[in-house]
Amino acid sequence: MTAPNLNINLCGIKLSNPTILPSGFLGTSKSLLKRVADNGAGAATIKSVSLAPREGHKNPTVIPFEAGMLNAVGYSNPGAEETAREFANINEISIPVIASIIGTEADDFVSVVDKLSETQFSAIELPLSCPHTPGFGLLAGQGTPESTRNIVSAVRKATKLPIFVKLSPNIPEIGNLAKAAEDAGANAITAVNTLGPGMIINIEARKPVLSYKVGGVSGPALRPIATRCVYDIYEAVKIPIIGTGGISTGRHAIEMIMAGATAVGIGTGIYQRGMDIFRKICQEMETWMSENNFNNIDEMIGIAHD
């Protein structure tokens, strides 16, 4: 019997497997994304970029806990011009690279897209869902259907690249939000961003550990919520879904695909299993698929639905 085929086609982008590095992990430089590619990822996302450089929140910005991780990095990034320079020779990275773009108003997103127009990114991701950075995501009111429509429509006019819209697990009617993104021209939904915000207090210090006090929850604590969000979104839209949240094994990835995802994001799992988690997950998926007579990813997408 031949080995199962993990190739996927995501909005016309060919991926050798469905694992994707989400934004905010390791995506600061071309050199690290090359290493992510060498470790078996199917695609990678750069650290979110704003028009102007940002230093982000003070440390501590990331703190692990027993069920995952809490982070409030605060969108530190060198700005759109510097990002365009860093990723100028993006073809040196052997896998498709997604540009995650942030802004406050629709015009801000468009300005970043324009600055990156000479680079060879494979897609644009709009995280309209960050729970811990003033002026961006949920704290800029971007988690509503109106705001989502507004921003996606503006970016749609500015680029021919596929647009992925990253949603917050906090939104109760997440299917409606995904539908608004689809109607405005989004080509895929990334579900989900971190949950919360949450808080961890050091009781001896009597202070929250993160300098920003609160941060987004990722990892195992988020996984069942992310799976449900993907399930709901699959019922609401026709465009593909990148299921992200707490996946650290091949079984988790397959579960997310059965909920309706075409591809899966792997972030916090890197802390748990190392950078070669991408290769490990693919091997685990292949083994399970062989044992359960699945030949390719398409056969599994959304099969948990009635």
Partner: protein
């Protein structure tokens, strides 16, 4: 590593003792066990203020210490602290120095080259290598910046201005020393320009080199990518890198990332860091 020797989240520890090392440098001692290998680092948290990486500069079975140069807001606040006050500690993190078998069995020899506050990353190694065939060279810009000069015997001191020890840099005499001792490994921590010279010397003479690098850090656990140096994460893959790793790191001796992630020359980075 057992749970009590490694801390994933910051654990508040009381400052047991404070030692004045020089006019602008103090060591802070903690009565606590730590699963530490020379060259690793810990993150030190001042609640509500900030968190910074530090090498462990004093280490024993039931205590450890860090050495802090007063430079910015964080270190100024630390210098005002008194014994009995608490800071948060997480770690230790990263990969430390390795000691080749031939140095351990006495057939080989090593040289340790520290510059300025980089010495704080080398002291536990110096102590671990006591009794073995090693040479220790320390350098600083001037007499008052020399760290730990009275802590060890048989060290050779250099100052840029000649105010103490030899005038010049530790790297000036490496050739002569190597002719005499035929070193197997050189360890270094200090200004990157000095470490680059040590690394180049090692390559020329086919000696193993291990250098401890400094980059601005955020997570400390290898996921955020802030401290990247040519595909290597200084917090997780380093901070100590050997010759084979350094060979592939073009940013070593040349570039570093600012807090925003902007990649700039080490000169500009140094101006921002105030060193």
């Amino acid at each position: 590593m057992t749970e009590e020797l490694y801390f994933e989240q910051p654990v508040m520890m009381k400052i047991d003792k404070i030692i004045n090392e020089s006019d602008d440098t103090k060591s802070f001692m903690f009565r606590h066990k730590l699963g530490y290998n020379p060259g690793q680092f810990i993150m030190v948290w001042l609640p509500g203020i900030d968190e910074k990486p530090f090498a462990v500069s004093c280490f024993g079975e039931d205590f450890f210490g860090i050495t802090v140069l007063e430079r910015g807001n964080f270190t100024k606040l630390m210098h005002k602290m008194k014994p009995g006050e608490q800071v948060g500690i997480r770690g230790p993190f990263g990969h430390g120095f390795s000691i080749p078998d031939n140095v351990k069995d006495g057939t080989g020899s090593a040289c340790i080259i520290g510059g300025g506050c980089g010495m704080a990353s080398l002291t536990v190694l110096i102590e671990k290598l006591q009794g073995y065939n090693t040479t220790t060279l320390i350098g600083a810009t001037t007499k008052t910046k020399l760290l730990f000069k009275n802590r060890y015997k048989d060290i050779t001191i250099f100052t840029d201005d000649g105010s103490e020890g030899r005038k010049g840099y530790p790297t000036d005499i490496l050739e002569d020393l190597h002719n005499k001792h035929n070193y197997n490994i050189l360890y270094t921590c200090g200004p990157e320009i000095m470490m680059t010279k040590v690394y180049q010397f090692c390559n020329k003479h086919d000696i193993q080199c291990e250098a401890s690098l400094e980059r601005y850090m955020k997570c400390g656990i290898g996921i955020c990518g802030q401290c990247v140096c040519d595909g290597q994460m200084v917090c997780k893959d380093g901070p100590v890198f050997n010759s084979q790793a350094l060979d592939k790191m073009n940013d070593f001796g040349s570039y570093s990332l600012l807090k925003s992630g902007q990649r700039v020359s080490l000169k500009e980075y140094g101006e921002w860091r105030g060193c």
